[in-house]
């Protein structure tokens, strides 16, 4: 929403090793101020490690991190402006949600108690039940409420909704859009439910095996690939010189996903009697994080097998 020149988060050449495992491999990234960025990737890709390093909860093996222009580790000035909602937040044993919400204003100066009360109502959260007695979904609701009502200038949601049902997730998205519209701030949302959040994101970062493989606006990510469908011969002729992300086929029909086509290329494809289908963000990410060379060869030979 805002065009602040300085990025909120700047990561340069960040590498994080756990013994022999390279969790983050030379990551360079800047997070735009005032935007909702999706941090997407498969399990174990490095999403949580990246967020923990950015928020000063873990040390980088090498590289630099700047958050609000400063080093985040043990830096109260930086950390007081961050809210990090994670999947597995731990609370003291006897804690009830009401205790969590009572403490929250000590940590978040923008805390909005009225908004929190409204969210408690929306999620029908039993505030007097002991947290260790609560269901997985109720526990997630506590985190989501803290993350939204804190209105921290930099908010991380790391898979915030384990156990939340479809209705509760929709409430989360609706409240997030509405409150972000009223109080623009920088939000980083990490999730596997890409289809559900695709339209909410302004920017998309995809991490795979510790490396950033996509870092662009959601709008341009949305049209960065197209699926070409038609008779195999015609499709093969059209995609021959292009980078193929995925191919599948049935009978004489082929469906091949290629990188961005410009207006002229689209016209050529239509003139050749081919159909063009959009590729959703989720499909695109599945294609780009799953398509090793061997998998490619296998799917291509499977396609050829159908032909013979």
């Amino acid at each position: 929403m805002t065009d602040t020149a300085t990025p909120v988060v700047e990561v340069d050449g960040l590498t994080k090793r756990f013994g022999d495992v390279v969790a983050l491999d030379d990551v360079t990234l800047s997070v735009r101020s005032g935007a909702i960025t999706g941090l997407l990737g498969r399990n174990g890709a490095g999403k949580t490690t990246l967020m923990q390093t950015i928020t000063g909860q873990d040390f980088a093996s090498s590289g630099t991190i700047r958050v609000f222009g400063e080093h985040p580790v043990e830096n109260a000035k930086v950390l007081s402006r961050i809210s990090f909602i994670k999947e597995s937040q731990k609370y003291p044993d006897e804690f009830k949600p009401k205790h969590v919400f009572a403490c929250a204003p000590w940590f978040y100066e923008n805390w909005d108690a009225d908004f929190a009360a409204q969210l408690i109502d929306d999620f029908q959260l039993p505030v007097n039940r002991r947290i260790k007695k609560m269901s997985r979904g109720q526990l997630s609701a506590v985190g989501v409420i803290v993350g939204l009502a804190a209105r921290a200038p930099l908010t991380f949601f790391d898979e915030p909704y384990l156990g939340l049902d479809a209705v509760a997730r929709q409430i989360f998205y609706d409240r997030l859009i509405a409150d972000y519209g009223e109080h623009p701030r920088t939000i980083i949302l990490s999730t596997h439910l890409i289809d559900e959040v695709a339209n909410i994101l302004e920017h998309v970062v995809v991490i795979d095996k510790g490396r950033i493989i996509m870092d662009e606006s959601a709008e341009s990510a949305r049209d960065s690939a197209t699926t070409v469908v038609g008779p195999r011969g015609a499709v093969d002729a059209f995609v021959a010189t292009r980078k193929v992300l995925h191919r599948e086929g049935v009978g004489g029909l082929a469906s091949v996903t290629v990188e961005r086509l410009d207006a002229d290329e689209r016209r050529d494809a239509l003139a050749a009697g081919l159909e063009l289908a959009p590729v959703s963000l989720q499909q695109l990410i599945v294609r780009t994080t799953n398509s090793t060379v061997t998998e490619f060869a296998e799917s291509a030979s499977a396609v050829n097998g159908v032909r013979s």
């Binding site: 909702i36 859009i177 972000y180 519209g181 959009p278």
Partner: protein, 120 residues
């Protein structure tokens, strides 16, 4: 309501245009805010803002400082002219190409259009 094919901001702009053409949003009436569009379509407010901004650039909408966004006078006529211009490429050419595929001759197509036009 939002489909995958086109940029979302463009779809937002087109929906506002459709409402102006249909008269649902009369000239000089106030348009919902960017945040209202975002909430309704469940999209990022910045994306909704981009769609609205496109119409402001085209002179279809104008801003009243501190009040909101309004439909310009003459916006409907301007949109109709633009839509008529793209009617051939958007509707007539695909119709003819599909007719050709099915072996429907131009004369038969003409008849069909006349019949349907009179029926509706």
């Amino acid at each position: 309501m939002i489909d995958e094919g086109k940029p979302i901001f463009q779809q937002i702009a087109e929906q506002i245009e459709n409402d102006i053409i249909s008269g649902a949003l009369p000239e000089e009436s106030q348009v919902p805010s960017t945040n209202e569009f975002a909430a309704f379509h469940r999209i990022n407010p910045a994306t909704a803002g981009k769609g609205v901004g496109m119409l402001v650039d085209d002179g279809i909408l104008y801003k009243k400082r501190g009040i909101g966004m309004f439909v310009s006078s003459g916006a409907r006529e301007q949109l109709l002219a633009k839509r008529r211009e793209s009617f051939r490429a958007d509707f007539v050419l695909p119709l003819i190409s599909e007719a050709k595929k099915l072996g429907i001759s131009p004369a038969e197509l003409n008849n069909l259009i006349t019949q349907e036009g009179e029926a509706s």
